[in-house]
Each structure stands twice: as structure tokens, then as C-alpha cells.
């Protein structure tokens, strides 16, 4: 049942291949100032019906990864290497036509800001129907009916009339619902939600997350949920991938990662989150320093300039040797597993309350 089919000692895939498999993904942008290594050797797998939460601070390469899956980067300024297998089909070098057939059909995306992500010039209904008409060859009328159906499904009241509205006539929550309807219109097997609730209020965020969960149950899609809010992941995802500076630093199931995190960055994240139930007397435990520049990431472990435990690793391993993230459950850190456990239990957990 677990997504992360590969265990530390058996790297070869077992049983059914994962639905989405990303291997050694590198994404680099050439810019005026130099080359941005936005994604730096990322690998993960995802099975049907599961939700993978990708967390990490701003600029850690979450969106870039997922745009790479959809093949939406500008090929002129982007270099992508590695492997992206969707249901066994290689996507990295795929022709544009192939990708067009997959996008919106087998894989779909929900963007962060539903106002700018929806075209202001066309009705919501038309925008929803478009991929349906294109991918299923349905007529315009059928497309419209489908749009009404989808709007109803995502809980827009009176979908028959609202289908002819323009996005700006919708409220923020409704727009995000429309986005969701649009992405689900072809029953995609893979749904990537890039911070679907960041722009929304807490009450609306809760609605949307519930909706996503319910729809996943209905459609059985695999979902990648990108967010920087651990709380959102905790509520929604099955597995977690923590990213830092374009790399995955930890992965595991939600329970594993939240209950016994294995990377100092994850500890930092947990420690800096204020909680409704935490002790208010206890100050928050922020991660010191600032995120690194991706133009010139720190050598070795990218987290080492901000890490409090580099001293516990012998020599300058942290700043020279890149720690590997083991397949399956684990964290990319030079600390030994025991040491990590003891630090977490002694230093970190108490502060979390």
C-alpha cells in the first residue's frame, strides 16, 4: 500500500511499477546572472490513489519539479535531464504533441493563484470544457454539459447559470473550485496541485482540502500536493517529500515524517511552526540564516550553513560531501540514524509541545 515501494536495501522496483516515477531529475535555467540549479537530482515515485505532499520553503524547487513533469518549461532557457516516467511512458524527451495529448488528460495541474491562472477572457464553462472537447473529441455542447456537471461536483451552486460566468465573477474559493473542476474534467490519473490553498482563507482552505480528498476517493487519481504548510500536508497527504535547495532531503509517510523526522531541516520546519496547542511561553525555534542561492548552492549538504549539527559530523563532510537520500524512508543527512533519533527526542520534540 505504501507509495515508496523501494526500500533502502532493495532499490529495484518491486511488483507493479509506480504510476509516476521521477529519477535523477535536474532542471537548470540559464539566466542573465548565471545558471540556476532549480532542481538538483530529485527522485520520487507515486502510485495511483495516493497523495504525495511536497513541502519546502519558497524557492526550493517544488513548482519547477512539477512543471517539469508536465513539460511546461520553456525549452530554450531550460535544461532538463533525468527520467520522468508516467505510467511507463518517458516524458523528459517526449515530443510536444505527445505531451499535449497527456496534459489535461492523464495529468492535470491546479495552480496556486486561481485569479491569474484562469483566463479573464473566456467563461469558466468554456475553459473547463476545452480540454474535455480536445481530449475526448466531444462536441461543444457535450463539453458544456460536462462543465456544468463538473461545476456541480466541486460544489458551485447553480452550475447551469454559473457556467457562463467569467472568472472575475467568482469568489476566490469558487475560482479554485473551478480550477479543480477544470483539472478533473478528463479524469486525470495524476493531479498536481501547486499550493492550491495558499491564496485562500483558512475556512475556505479547509473546504478545498476536503474537496480534494473526496474527489480523489471518487476518481482514484494520484495527487501531488505542493505546499509549504506542514499542517496542510498532515491533513491531506499520505506521503511527504521535503525539499531543500532543489533536492529532496527527506521522505516517508506522513506519520513517519511528522512523528520521527530524520533531517535537521525538517526539525527546523517543525520547530518554527507555531501551534494552536503549543506552549506559548516557549519561543519558536526558527532555522537560522536564509535560504541559499540556487545560482551557487553551498557545496556538500546544501543545508550545512544553517545546520546546528554540522559539528557532530566528523571533519568537513557536511560542507564537502553530498549526503544521499536513501530510497524509501529516510533523510539526506550525514548524521547517523541513532544520533538523529536521539537529537529529535531530546532537543526537538519537547519544544514542539
Amino acid at each position: 500500500m505504501t507509495t515508496l515501494t523501494k526500500t533502502e536495501d532493495s532499490p529495484a522496483p518491486t511488483g507493479a511499477d509506480p504510476f509516476l516515477s521521477v529519477r535523477d531529475l535536474y532542471v537548470r535555467f540559464s539566466t542573465e546572472d548565471g545558471i540556476v540549479k532549480a532542481v538538483d537530482g530529485l527522485s520520487f515515485d507515486l502510485e495511483r490513489g495516493r497523495t504525495l505532499g511536497i513541502v519546502g520553503e519558497s524557492g526550493s524547487g517544488k513548482s519547477v519539479t512539477n512543471l517539469a513533469v508536465l513539460g511546461l518549461h520553456n525549452p530554450k532557457s531550460t535544461t532538463i535531464s533525468g527520467e520522468i516516467l508516467l505510467d511507463g511512458q518517458e516524458l523528459t524527451g517526449a515530443r510536444e504533441k505527445t505531451l499535449e495529448r497527456l496534459r489535461g488528460n492523464k495529468m492535470a495541474m491546479i495552480f496556486q493563484d486561481p485569479l491569474t491562472a484562469l483566463s479573464p477572457y473566456y467563461t469558466v464553462g468554456r475553459q473547463i470544457a476545452e480540454p474535455f472537447v480536445k481530449h475526448t473529441g466531444a462536441s461543444k455542447r457535450e463539453g458544456r454539459l460536462r462543465a456544468v456537471e463538473m461545476l456541480g461536483k466541486v460544489g458551485i451552486p447553480q452550475p447551469q447559470t454559473r457556467v457562463d460566468d467569467y472568472p472575475h465573477q467568482f469568489s476566490g474559493g469558487m475560482r479554485q473550485r473551478a480550477m479543480i473542476a477544470m483539472s478533473l474534467v478528463c479524469n486525470p490519473s495524476l493531479l498536481i496541485a501547486d499550493e492550491p490553498t495558499t491564496a485562500l482563507d483558512v475556512t475556505v482552505q479547509a473546504q478545498i482540502l476536503d474537496l480534494l480528498k473526496d474527489l480523489q476517493q471518487e476518481f482514484g487519481s494520484a495527487i501531488i500536493l505542493i505546499t509549504h504548510d506542514l499542517g496542510v500536508v498532515a491533513n491531506t497527504a499520505d506521503d511527504i517529500l521535503v525539499m531543500y535547495a532543489g533536492r529532496a532531503v527527506e521522505r516517508g509517510s506522513v506519520k513517519e515524517v511528522l512523528q520521527s523526522p530524520r533531517h535537521p531541516y525538517t526539525w527546523g520546519l517543525l520547530g518554527s511552526m507555531p501551534r494552536l496547542s503549543g506552549d506559548v511561553e516557549q519561543p519558536l525555534k526558527p532555522i537560522p540564516g536564509t535560504p541559499p542561492s540556487l545560482l551557487n548552492p553551498p557545496p556538500g549538504c546544501p543545508f550545512h550553513p544553517r545546520c546546528a549539527y554540522t559539528g557532530e559530523v566528523g571533519g568537513d563532510r557536511c560542507s564537502s560531501e553530498r549526503p544521499v537520500l536513501p530510497e524509501g524512508r529516510g533523510g539526506a543527512c550525514h548524521l547517523t540514524a541513532e544520533r538523529k533519533q536521539s537529537i529529535f527526542i531530546e532537543d526537538i520534540q519537547p519544544a514542539l509541545g
Binding site: 489535461g104 495552480f111 493563484d113 483566463s119 476545452e130 480536445k134
Partner: protein, 325 residues
């Protein structure tokens, strides 16, 4: 929508009235006596006096202005006869009713502009979009640089050269002239071909540059990316999503250009000896023919305002956000 149009029209009328007042009073601040124009060889003080009476110039300027305005809305009686609304009076220079002269000249300007605009809009948008589509390639660079050089040309420079090359020395095309479309569509077309070409060469470049840069801007919009993420083909995304967004700035400029061209393509008409509104304007200025200047000025301003309103209405058509707010 109706309300919007009404409100804008009222605003336009107010502006027109202000412009007319401005023009009228500014004109009268020149020490030049308009009567001299109608006076000819025996310009004795008596003759001037008679002309002043004939033209109504003996009345105080505000009264003259009032009469003028009344004439526009209600018509006016002149020695020559009744002039029904809209009456802009009679030319000082040749006693023709101003309004008729304008109505008579307008088809030339209209044909010149419509034809030219058709060419430069089509070619400009075409090349601009192609350049945006092929961004960074040789095609893009060629279009961009050629359009830059062309746009730095001036009609009065390019016009004679084109005429010399295509008409006088090689006889490929015929000399510019205006034949009404209703009279002979073929000759209408042939006669205006050169002005169209020259006019559009200069304008096209502008549109190429504009549509290219707005297209590129639009292609970076997030909703365009969404459309791609839906699996829509690049072509579809380009022509439906990006293009729609790039329309607004283009329509704005196009409206402004059309408005001012309809109000008289002065330099083009001058260069090609076409008797349109622009020539009329220059002639009447040279002759200090006040009623004609007033008429042309108001007509041109009207055209500009009309196209302003049309552009605003077009915004509503293009962008539902405008339509519904």
C-alpha cells in the same frame, strides 16, 4: 452599455464645445483680419467693412461664437440662404458651405485610411505575431530590424521616392488619385494603392513592434500557462489565449491612429495631392479661413472622440472584466 455610451457621448460633446471655444477665441486673438481673404485686389476700407458685415465679423467675438454654436445645433440663416443643422457656416474663401465641403472631402480620407489601416493592421499584426512566435530566430530579428528602420521613415520622404520609383520612372503603378468607390472600384483601388503602401509601411512597423512585444508579454501570463497545462496545442494557446490579451493595447493604438487619420491624414494627403480632410485643413489654415478651420477642427476632434468611445466599447467586448464592472 447604453448608459456607458450615453455618458461618454455627453462627455464628448462637452469636449467638442470646449475645443470649439478654444479654437474660436484663439483664432480671434491673431491680429490678422479674416476679411482680407475675401477682399481681393481692391481692398479698400469700405470693401473691408462690407465684408465684415457680410461675414458677421462686425459683431463682438462672443456673439459670433454664440451664432456659430447655434448654427451647429439649430441651423442658421445666411445671406446666401438657410443653412440647416449641422451648420458650420460658409467658407470665407469660396463661399461653400463648410459642412458640405467636409462631407465631400471625407470619402477620400476615409478610403485612404480604411485601405491603409487594413494593410498595416493585417501586415503589422501578422509580422508581429510571427516574430513573437519565432522569437529569437532569424525571422524575428529580420522583422524586428526591418520594422524599426521602416518606422523611422517619414511619409514626406518615402512618398516621393516611392512615387518616383513606381510611377514616374517605371510606370508600374498609376499616380495617386481618388475615384469614388461607387464610381469605379477598380480605379479606386489602383488610384489609392501607392498612398496605402506608403502609409502602411510607416504604420505597419509600429504594429509589428507592438504586437510582438504584447504577444511576448501575454505568452508569459499565467493563464496562458494554464491553457498549455490543459493540453491545448501551442497554436491554439497562441491564437486564443495570448492573442486575446494582446488585443487591448493594439486596439488602443489602432483606435488612436484611426481617429487621427480619419480627422485628416495631413502629411499623406499633402504628399500625394489627395483632396481629403487633411488637405482641407492645410488649405484653410493657409487661407485663414476661420469657418473651415473650425469645421475641420471639430470634425477631426469628433473623429478622435468617436474612436475613443469605440475603443472603450471594444475593451468591453474584448475583456469581460470591463464589460461587467
Amino acid at each position: 452599455m447604453l448608459q456607458f455610451l450615453l455618458r461618454r457621448s455627453i462627455g464628448a460633446v462637452v469636449i467638442l464645445i470646449l475645443i470649439s471655444a478654444f479654437t474660436f477665441f484663439l483664432f480671434f486673438s491673431i491680429p490678422q483680419d479674416p476679411a482680407l481673404l475675401a477682399c481681393g485686389k481692391n481692398c479698400t476700407p469700405d470693401a473691408i467693412k462690407i465684408i465684415h458685415q457680410n461675414l458677421g465679423l462686425d459683431k463682438p467675438v462672443p456673439v459670433q461664437y454664440w451664432n456659430f454654436m447655434v448654427g451647429i445645433f439649430a441651423g442658421r440663416d445666411f445671406a446666401v440662404g438657410h443653412c440647416s443643422a449641422p451648420c458650420f457656416g460658409y467658407s470665407f474663401a469660396n463661399n461653400q458651405p463648410v459642412w458640405n465641403t467636409i462631407v465631400d472631402r471625407f470619402p477620400t480620407t476615409l478610403s485612404l485610411t480604411v485601405g491603409g489601416a487594413f494593410v498595416f493592421l493585417l501586415v503589422g499584426l501578422g509580422t508581429g505575431m510571427l516574430a513573437a512566435w519565432k522569437r529569437g530566430t532569424a525571422v524575428d530579428k529580420t522583422f524586428s530590424s526591418v520594422s524599426l528602420v521602416l518606422s523611422s521613415m517619414q511619409i514626406y520622404f518615402l512618398g516621393p521616392i516611392v512615387l518616383g520609383l513606381l510611377v514616374y520612372s517605371t510606370d508600374i503603378l498609376s499616380s495617386p488619385k481618388y475615384v469614388p468607390f461607387t464610381e469605379n472600384p477598380g480605379q479606386w483601388f489602383v488610384g489609392l494603392l501607392i498612398p496605402w503602401i506608403v502609409l502602411s509601411v510607416i504604420f505597419t512597423a509600429n504594429y509589428t513592434r507592438m504586437s510582438r512585444s504584447t504577444m511576448i508579454e501575454q505568452l508569459q501570463e499565467e493563464h496562458v500557462r494554464t491553457a498549455k497545462a490543459k493540453g491545448m496545442s501551442s497554436r491554439y494557446v497562441f491564437f486564443r489565449y495570448a492573442w486575446r490579451g494582446s488585443l487591448i493595447p493594439i486596439v488602443t493604438i489602432f483606435g488612436m491612429d484611426l481617429g487621427s487619420l480619419f480627422g485628416g491624414a495631413i502629411i499623406t494627403e499633402q504628399t500625394f495631392s489627395l483632396a481629403g480632410i487633411g488637405r482641407l485643413a492645410v488649405e484653410s489654415v493657409i487661407k485663414t479661413d476661420l469657418p473651415m478651420i473650425m469645421g475641420v477642427m471639430l470634425f477631426s476632434a469628433f473623429m478622435i472622440l468617436l474612436f475613443n468611445i469605440i475603443v472603450d466599447a471594444a475593451y468591453a467586448w474584448i475583456d469581460p472584466r470591463v464589460r461587467l464592472s
